[in-house]
């Protein structure tokens, strides 16, 4: 029986980790191409979560159904943010970009605070308490749906980057900025597109995460940190790395919460991050920058 508990917790952590991974995937895509660290990542996620909550409470729309529309809204937000604000900052030093995005994050958190107040909100669906029995495993139905949805979204994103011409063009920008300019790619527009795609990942992940835990405006910064940990662990700029990092962090948090106190669980994620940075600074699946 004891082994069953560990297995249950591990599977639950793994499924939550997939959603974390999707969120981190957005950050990784943005950094990999645009070379800007999105310090407003978690805050963008809270926008998506509040959108899902508003749609659910006012129109009764299930967050799982709303994944694509919410991702679309966040895509537009990300596109506008990159085209309007970040593009002029591409060649500025890191600390300049940092302040820009910190300011954006500050505005998002506090606009949400003004609109929704500081109280925690969540979504109660009809299947909130359902679970599947698979052998000795008891798995939350919500987490299964969410995990499956994550896999679909991720597969679509991978397919976009591998199979479409636009995806290829974006990868060209990431590989060689000057080269992409030389062959006549509209790099600024592709950057905006990439930021939009990263934001869309966040939108999809946000509308799923709302099913797993409560949201407050103050959740943003901790989600940003979580995304950093995952992405650095997996390899900044590496897409499979982000997913792997997400699953690893999800597992670590779940198991640390079981073995120690839940409040200390993120200490283990940070510990993992520090270890990775020290022994493999480019991340588990990252390529070393020249």
């Amino acid at each position: 029986m004891a082994a069953g508990i560990y297995l249950n917790v591990a599977v639950s952590g793994l499924l939550t980790g997939l959603v974390y991974g999707l969120m981190a995937l957005g950050l990784s895509v943005i950094f990999g191409v645009v070379r800007v660290v999105n310090f407003a990542h978690g805050e963008m996620m809270t926008i998506a979560m509040y959108l899902a909550i508003v749609l659910f409470s006012s129109l009764g729309l299930d967050p799982l159904v709303m994944i694509i529309p919410i991702a679309g809204v966040l895509f537009a937000f990300g596109y506008a943010l990159q085209a309007g604000l970040i593009n002029p900052f591409i060649s500025r030093p890191e600390h300049s970009q940092f302040i820009l995005l910190v300011a954006v994050a500050l505005i998002i958190v506090n606009v949400l605070l003004m609109l929704f107040g500081p109280d925690a909100r969540n979504v109660q669906t009809s299947y909130s308490f359902d679970s599947f029995l698979i052998g000795p495993l008891i798995v939350d139905a919500t987490k299964v749906y969410v995990g499956a949805a994550t896999c679909i979204v991720t597969a679509a994103l991978f397919a976009f980057f591998r199979l479409t011409l636009t995806g290829k063009a974006i990868r060209a920008c990431a590989d060689n900025y000057t080269g992409a300019l030389v062959v006549g790619l509209d790099v600024k527009r592709l950057y905006a597109l990439t930021f939009g795609l990263g934001a869309a990942c966040v939108g999809a992940a946000g509308s799923m995460l709302v099913l797993l835990f409560d949201v407050t405006p103050a959740l943003g910064p901790s989600l940003t940190l979580l995304a950093f940990i995952i992405v650095i662990t997996g390899g900044l700029g590496s897409m499979p790395g982000a997913l792997l990092g997400g699953v690893l962090i999800g597992l670590t948090e779940a198991l640390a919460g079981l073995f120690f106190t839940p409040s200390a669980k993120s200490m283990f994620s940070f510990g993992l991050l520090v270890l990775v940075l020290l022994f493999r600074p480019q991340g588990i699946l990252g390529k070393r920058a020249s």
Binding site: A103, V109, M267, L278
Partner: protein, 334 residues
């Protein structure tokens, strides 16, 4: 040493500096209690910003986790005071030593393994967050329920134990800020300072010139960490309560570095100007919004964020370089 401070500085900036200092020295006579409290906060950020500027502005190492040094300084002296009755002035060297060692550890681990740029910045966040959660579970200093100093007796000032009224803390903070300014000035004009600037501009080139970049980056981190921990000592004895959630939180680190970035990174006056501007802006906004009856939670921060956006978009080098050009104070540096 002091003579070197004044040479090569235009006379007009010396006059302005003297006026500013005189105004600040006389502040307890012209400022009311509220304004004095605001000035204390401004000086606190000016001091902390200068400490951070040593590492980022001079040596080019971006730290986003300076809250860890503030927190270590605060908790060390507070714990020595509460548990062993050791006063803050005796605790201070211990705090500085602990923070410097902590900075050395972070620096050693990062620079030894060639961690730089964004990765280094995120490593510093990770250490600060690690400390935050660690102190949450460190019951000897109160854990997450907070650590409290015996509340001050405001009737008389006890400088030795740092118990007293805001005026005492004001002069203490002013002295620290001036001392940090002098130290930064001397550092920037010293051999180490020129090595740092070489590393900041181009690390590979600096190394090929024979500069031991690892060593000088370590020195920058250690000096910056030690200086920052003194701000923590002030923090503990001024506020009298410490919560890991507040002291080590990433927003503390961000607050600390906004001043120098807005004021002008790598400049001597930048952190000070930035602290005045940002804290002044924040307090004015508070006043205006409450006068208009708009003080909804969050409104102030939204405007603050918009102002930050505007400054960073319009004045990429910060306010001070722009102001210095306007006032005709700019020397032909760089």
């Amino acid at each position: 040493m002091i003579g070197r401070l004044f040479e090569e500085t235009p006379r007009i900036s010396l006059v302005l500096l003297a006026l500013l200092l005189a105004g600040l020295l006389a502040a307890p006579w012209w400022a009311n209690d509220y304004l004095l409290t605001v000035l204390i906060i401004i000086l606190y950020f000016a001091y902390g910003g200068q400490a951070w500027n040593v590492m980022m502005g001079f040596a080019g190492q971006l730290s986003l986790g300076h809250a860890i040094y503030v927190g270590l300084g605060a908790y060390t002296t507070a714990a020595l005071y509460v548990h062993f009755g050791i006063g803050p002035w005796l605790g201070l060297p211990v705090a500085v030593a602990i923070a410097t060692v902590c900075g050395a550890i972070i620096g050693f681990l990062a620079f030894r393994f060639g961690v730089g740029g964004v990765y280094f910045a995120i490593l510093t966040i990770a250490f600060a967050e690690f400390a935050r959660i660690g102190f949450d579970h460190f019951t000897w200093v109160g854990g997450s329920s907070g650590f409290f100093l015996p509340v001050a007796n405001y009737s008389r000032n006890d400088l030795w134990n740092l118990r007293g009224n805001p005026t005492m803390f004001y002069y203490l903070m002013l002295a620290l800020t001036v001392a940090a300014f002098v130290l930064c000035h001397l550092l920037l004009r010293s051999r180490v300072g020129y090595y740092w600037q070489a590393i900041r501009e181009d690390e590979t080139a600096a190394r090929s010139l024979g500069i031991d970049t690892f060593r000088y980056k370590m020195i920058a981190v250690m000096i910056s960490a030690g200086m920052t921990s003194i701000a923590g000592v002030f923090f503990a004895f001024y506020y009298n309560n410490l919560f890991p959630e507040q002291v080590f939180h990433i927003s503390r680190s961000i607050e600390l570095i906004l001043g120098p970035i807005i004021g002008g990174i790598g400049t001597l006056f930048g952190p000070i100007i930035g602290a005045f501007l940002l804290t002044g802006l924040s307090e004015t906004m508070q006043q205006i919004l409450s006068a208009l009856g708009l003080d909804v939670p969050g409104a102030k921060q939204v405007f603050y964020g918009i102002c930050l956006l505007l400054v960073v978009m319009l004045l990429p080098d910060g306010v001070w370089p722009w102001l210095a050009r306007r006032l005709g104070l700019a020397r032909q540096r760089r």
